[in-house]
C-alpha cells in the first residue's frame, strides 16, 4: 500500500498561483473556490528586506482533527494517507472547518466544506497532481513515502524538513523544507 505525501520547498516559490488555477481546472472549481493558497510575508527594513511565500493546502493529517470531530464520519482517512469527504454523508455542520488548524476548508454552494483531495483518482494512475506538475520552480514534490526510491523519499532524506503546527499533534503528510536546508 502506498502512503502518499507532499514536500514543499517554499524558498523556491515566486507566488505565481499556477498551482491554484491548475488545480481549479483539474477539479472544475469556480474562480472563488481554491484548494491551495499562498501566504506572503515580508520581513526586515528597506533595503535589507526579505520576502517569504508559503503554499498551504490540506495537510492530509495522519491524525486529522476534522475527521475526529465529524459526527457522521463524512470526513475519513484512507489507508493510502488521503483525507477525503463523502459528500452523501456530510450534514454541513462545519465542525471540520473550525477544527482544522490550517484553515484550508472552503464551503461549496451545497454547504459542504471542501478542500484539497490530493488528486484522488489521478494519483493512483501514476499522474502527478497539477499543483506539482505545473510549477515552474519545482516547489512541490508528491509521491509515495513507502517507496524508498520515490523522488519524495530521496528528497526527504537529503533535506531537513518540518511540518506546520506540528505541536498540535495532527501529523501532517505535507512536509516543508527547512529554510537554509
Amino acid at each position: 500500500m502506498a502512503h502518499y505525501a507532499m514536500l514543499i520547498d517554499a524558498a523556491r516559490c515566486t507566488g505565481c498561483a499556477a498551482c491554484r488555477v491548475a488545480c481549479q481546472m483539474q477539479w472544475q472549481l469556480p474562480p472563488e473556490v481554491f484548494f491551495n493558497r499562498l501566504e506572503f510575508r515580508e520581513s526586515g527594513k528597506y533595503p535589507d528586506v526579505k520576502q517569504e511565500i508559503v503554499p498551504v493546502q490540506c495537510m492530509h493529517c495522519d491524525n486529522p482533527p476534522c475527521a475526529t470531530v465529524c459526527p457522521t464520519k463524512a470526513t475519513y482517512k484512507r489507508a493510502d494517507g488521503l483525507v477525503l469527504i463523502d459528500h452523501d454523508k456530510c450534514i454541513g455542520c462545519k465542525y471540520c472547518v473550525v477544527a482544522c488548524p490550517y484553515d484550508v476548508r472552503q464551503m461549496n454552494d451545497r454547504g459542504i466544506p471542501e478542500k484539497c483531495r490530493f488528486c484522488a483518482g489521478f494519483i493512483e494512475k501514476g499522474e502527478q497532481p497539477p499543483c506539482v506538475s505545473t510549477c515552474m520552480n519545482d516547489v512541490r514534490v508528491f509521491g509515495d513515502l513507502d517507496d524508498p526510491n520515490s523522488e519524495i523519499s530521496k528528497k526527504m532524506k537529503e533535506k531537513p524538513v518540518y511540518q506546520l503546527a506540528a505541536e498540535k499533534g495532527t501529523k501532517p503528510r505535507v512536509f516543508y523544507v527547512k529554510r537554509g536546508g
Binding site: A11, R12, T14, G15, C16, A17, A18, R20, V21, A22, Q24, M25, Q26, W27, Q28, L29, P30, P31, E32, V33, F34, R37, L38, E39, F40, R41, E42, S43, G44, K45, Y46, P47, V49, Q51, I53, V54, V56, H87, K94, V97, V98, P101, Y102, D103, Q106, M107, N108, D109, R110, E114, G121, P130, S133, T134, C135, M136, N137, D138, L164, A165
Partner: protein, 739 residues
C-alpha cells in the same frame, strides 16, 4: 455564515492571507462522476495568455475544455504553465466575449450585423479611401509581430503602415540591438555561471522555461543578481537584490563598463577583433567612474565594481540580461540604456558564446508558392517610423502605436484596423487615444469587448478564440537561448462557440467584397503544410506530437565571412557608436542622460509599473480566475515604501488619491484616480509601483471593470525620437491620503 478566525503560519501584520469566499457554483462531484466515464481528447496548441507562445496540450471532454498541460518539449515552458495560461483558456467561456460582428450605433452602442453586411460596408468605405488616392492612409495595428495575412492586403492596396504594440513595450532594446549588432541575442541561462538581471523579471512577466533554467542554474551554483527598484518575484529567489533608484540604470551600466575598461577586465581580444567605436565610447565616458555612477543610482561604488569584477571573472559564461519592457521603452534615455547593455556584454566578450549570449534558433520554414501579383508602389509610413523628417531611426518593422489620434487628425490615417490589440488600455493617455474614433473607418478584430473596440471601433469583427482555431506554425525562439530550433502550432480544440471567424476568413471576406480576386488562394491547413514540409513534418505529425524540435544545432560562432566579422551592421562588427543616432546634436555612443523628470516634494513620486505573475496586461484582467487571485492577495494595490507612507500618514490598505498633469498638443489636464495602497519595505522610496494588468474601463468587461488603476492613465502620449518608445515612467504623480 460562520466567521472563521484566520490562522497563518507566517506571523506578521502585513500578511495578506487568502480570503475564504463563498463560492457561486461548485459542482465537482457530478463533474468527477461524469468525467470518469467520458473519453478525453488531447489537442496541441500554444497559449495566448502572453506573447511567449508556450506549447500546451488541451484536454477536451464532452466537447468542453477540461484542462491544460504544458508540452515538456517546448523550450519556452518545459511542460510548465503559469496561472495566466489556465485563466485565459477558461475565458473561452467568458460571457464578455463579442459573439458576432457588430456595428457602432452610438457611443458605446453596437448592433449585431451579418458578416456579409460588415464585409460589404467595410469594403465600400475602404475602396472609397483608396480611390481618393489615399491608400497610404490605411493602417493596420496589431499586438504582435507581422500577421502575414494583413500584410498581404496592405501590399495589395499599397499601404505601408503596419504597426505593432512594441513602441509601448520594448522598441528601444530591439532598435539598439538591431543597429549595433544586427541581431537580437538571447541569454544562455543553461550554461551561465553569473547572471545579472536589470529590467527583466521572468517570474513576474513569466516565461516558465526561463524560470526553470534559472532555478536549475541556481541549483548548480550559478550566481543570480537582480537590479530592480522593487523586490520583484525574481529577486525573491536571487542571490542578491540591488534596489536601484528608478530611472538611473544607465548610470549603473556605464559604471560597470567603466570598471571593466579602467581595471582592464574586459575582453581585449574580442573588442579588438569585433568591436567598432570602442575609443569613441571610452572618450565620452572616461570620467564616468563607478563612484560617479553610485552618486546617481544609489548602488554603492564598491558594489558596482564588485559586480563588474564578478561578471569578468565568469565571462564569457556571464551576462547582463538584454532586458525588456520597463527599462527599454519607458525612459527618455531608454535607447542609450539599451546601448549600454550591448556594450557591457560586448566588453565581457560573451557574444555567440555558450553561457553568454547566443542567437535565437528558428526553424527554416517552407512557404506556399503563390502567384505573383501586380502591386502598387508604397508611399511613406503614416506613423512616421523611418520617415526622414519625422522618426528616421525608428524600426519600420515595429512602428509607432501611441500617437495614432494625432496622425488621424493630420489626415495621415483615414482607415484603421486594430487586430488583437487594445491601445486604449495599453498605450498612454486613454482619453487621448479615444480620439481614434474620428478616423473615417475603424475596424477592431478582438475576441472580447475591450476598451478600444467599445470606444473607437465602427465595426467589431470578432475572431475565433485561440482554442477554436488553427494557426500556422511558429518558431519558439527568442529571449532565452536553446540549442535547437523548435516549431509549435495551434490546432482547433473546441468548436467555435459564437458567430466568429478566423482572421484569414475575415480578410478573405473583406478582400472579396472589395472585388480583389484571389488575394488569399489558400487555407490555413495548406499554408501550415507548406511551412512544415522542409522540416519533414506534416499536420498529422504536429497534431500527434506537439512541439517539434529540429536537429540542426545553433553553434557558438561569431559570424565571419572571408576572415572578417560579418554581422549585418555596416562594419560587420558590434558598433558601440551608432551613426544613425547622431541626430540633433546627439552622440552615437551612450553617455549619462538624466531622466526627464524627477520627484522633489514630499508628496511626489515617480510612477513605475511592472508585471505581476497573475496578469499579462489588459488581455487577462477580465478573467474571473485570474481576478479572483488578485482579490485573494489584494493584487491591485499600488506599492509605496513604508517610510514615505508614514510621512503621508498612509497605512496599508488605505485609499489614496493619485494625480498627474498631462500635457498634450498645447492642452493640459489633471488626471486624478483613487487606489488602495500596499505599504511595503520592498520598494525604493522614490517611486510608487503599480502592477500593469489593472484599471479596465470597458463597462462590458464586468470582471475587470475599474479594478485598480493603470499606469497609462497618468502618462501623456509621447514619442521618444530615436526608437519610438513611449516614456511612460517619465511621470511624476502626487499622492494624498483619502479619496
Amino acid at each position: 455564515m460562520l466567521t472563521i478566525s484566520r490562522r497563518t503560519f507566517l506571523k506578521a501584520g502585513a500578511l495578506a492571507g487568502a480570503a475564504c469566499a463563498v463560492p457561486a457554483a461548485f459542482d465537482f462531484p457530478s463533474f468527477v462522476r461524469g468525467a470518469a466515464e467520458q473519453p478525453v481528447t488531447k489537442i496541441p496548441s500554444t497559449c495566448n495568455g502572453c506573447s511567449t507562445n508556450c506549447a500546451l496540450w488541451v484536454y477536451v471532454k464532452n466537447g468542453r475544455l477540461w484542462k491544460l498541460e504544458g508540452d515538456p518539449k517546448s523550450m519556452k515552458n518545459e511542460g510548465r504553465l503559469c496561472a495566466r495560461a489556465y485563466g485565459v483558456a477558461a475565458d473561452v467561456y467568458n460571457p464578455d466575449r463579442v459573439t458576432g460582428p457588430m456595428k457602432r450605433t452610438g457611443e458605446g452602442q453596437f448592433s449585431p450585423i451579418s458578416w456579409e453586411q460588415a464585409f460589404t460596408e467595410i469594403a465600400g468605405k475602404l475602396t472609397k479611401i483608396i480611390d481618393k488616392d489615399t491608400a497610404g492612409a490605411v493602417a493596420w495595428m496589431a499586438h504582435g509581430g507581422k500577421e502575414t495575412y494583413a500584410q498581404m492586403l496592405l501590399d495589395e492596396i499599397g499601404a505601408a503602415t503596419y504597426i505593432t504594440h512594441y513602441s509601448t513595450c520594448f522598441t528601444s532594446k530591439t532598435n539598439a540591438w538591431d543597429k549595433m549588432v544586427g541581431n537580437q541575442l538571447t541569454s544562455d541561462i543553461n550554461r551561465a555561471r553569473y547572471m545579472l538581471f536589470a529590467g527583466r523579471n521572468y517570474a513576474g512577466g513569466i516565461m516558465p522555461g526561463a524560470m526553470r533554467k534559472i532555478m536549475r542554474a541556481k541549483d548548480r551554483g550559478a550566481k543570480i543578481v537582480v537590479v530592480d527598484p522593487r523586490l520583484c518575484e525574481l529577486a525573491k529567489v536571487a542571490d542578491e537584490w540591488l534596489p536601484i533608484r528608478p530611472g538611473t540604470d544607465l548610470a549603473f551600466f556605464l559604471g560597470l563598463a567603466h570598471t571593466l575598461i579602467s581595471e582592464k577586465l574586459y575582453d581585449e581580444k574580442f573588442v579588438k577583433e569585433y568591436v567598432f567605436g570602442f575609443e569613441e565610447f571610452w572618450n565620452a565616458n572616461r570620467y564616468f567612474t563607478a563612484e560617479k555612477a553610485a552618486e546617481i543610482c544609489d548602488i554603492p561604488a564598491a558594489k558596482i565594481r564588485a559586480i563588474a569584477r564578478e561578471l569578468a571573472k565568469n565571462a564569457p559564461a556571464a551576462f547582463l540580461e538584454p532586458g525588456y519592457h520597463g527599462l527599454h521603452n519607458h525612459y527618455a534615455a531608454s535607447t542609450q540604456i539599451a546601448q549600454a547593455n550591448v556594450i557591457v556584454n560586448a566588453l565581457l566578450g560573451n557574444f555567440y558564446k555558450h553561457g553568454g549570449l547566443m542567437p535565437a534558433a528558428g526553424p527554416k520554414f517552407g512557404k506556399l508558392t503563390l502567384p505573383k501579383r501586380l502591386q502598387p508602389e508604397k508611399g511613406e509610413r503614416a506613423d512616421g517610423a523611418g520617415v526622414n523628417n519625422e522618426y528616421p531611426t525608428v524600426e519600420t518593422s515595429r512602428g509607432i502605436a501611441q500617437h495614432m489620434p494625432d496622425r488621424i487628425a493630420a489626415g495621415k490615417v483615414k482607415a484603421l484596423f486594430i487586430y488583437h490589440f487594445n491601445p486604449l488600455r495599453t498605450a498612454p493617455d486613454p482619453e487621448y487615444q479615444k480620439k481614434m474614433v474620428k478616423a473615417d473607418l475603424v475596424v477592431s478584430i478582438p475576441v472580447d469587448w475591450n476598451e478600444t473596440s467599445v470606444h473607437t471601433a465602427h465595426y467589431i469583427l470578432p475572431e475565433h478564440y485561440y482554442l477554436e482555431r488553427m494557426d500556422a506554425p511558429k518558431s519558439t525562439g527568442g529571449n532565452i537561448a536553446h540549442d535547437y530550433p523548435q516549431a509549435v502550432m495551434r490546432f482547433p480544440a473546441l468548436k467555435p462557440l459564437h458567430n466568429t471567424k478566423h482572421l484569414l476568413d475575415i480578410l478573405k471576406g473583406i478582400a472579396q467584397a472589395m472585388k480583389i480576386d484571389d488575394l488569399y488562394p489558400f487555407t490555413v491547413e495548406e499554408e501550415a503544410a507548406a511551412m512544415l514540409k522542409p522540416l519533414g513534418a506534416t499536420l498529422d505529425t504536429m497534431k500527434d506530437n506537439g512541439c517539434l524540435e529540429v536537429a540542426e544545432a545553433v553553434r557558438p560562432e561569431f559570424p565571419v565571412k572571408d576572415g572578417k566579422p560579418a554581422l549585418t551592421t555596416t562594419t560587420g562588427k558590434v558598433e558601440f557608436s551608432v551613426g544613425a543616432f547622431k541626430l540633433h546634436g546627439r552622440m552615437g555612443v551612450p553617455v549619462w542622460t538624466p531622466p526627464l523628470v524627477s520627484p522633489k516634494a514630499e508628496n511626489e513620486f515617480r510612477l513605475i509599473h511592472g508585471k505581476q505573475p497573475w496578469h499579462s496586461h489588459s488581455v487577462t484582467s477580465n478573467s474571473p480566475y485570474l481576478m479572483a487571485v488578485s482579490k485573494s492577495y489584494n493584487g491591485s494595490r499600488m506599492w509605496m515604501n513604508r517610510s514615505r507612507a508614514d510621512k503621508l500618514g498612509v497605512r496599508d490598505g488605505d485609499t489614496v488619491t493619485v494625480e498627474a498633469r498631462i500635457e498634450h498638443g498645447g492642452e493640459a489636464r489633471t488626471v486624478s484616480k483613487k487606489v488602495a495602497v500596499k505599504v511595503t519595505e520592498m520598494l525604493h522610496p522614490e517611486c510608487v509601483w503599480v502592477p500593469s494588468g489593472y484599471g479596465n474601463f470597458s463597462p462590458r468587461q464586468k470582471v475587470g471593470y475599474q479594478q485598480g488603476v493603470n499606469y497609462n492613465d497618468f502618462a501623456p502620449a509621447r514619442v521618444e525620437p530615436l526608437s519610438g518608445g513611449c516614456m511612460v515612467q517619465e511621470v511624476i504623480v502626487t499622492v494624498r491620503k483619502g479619496g
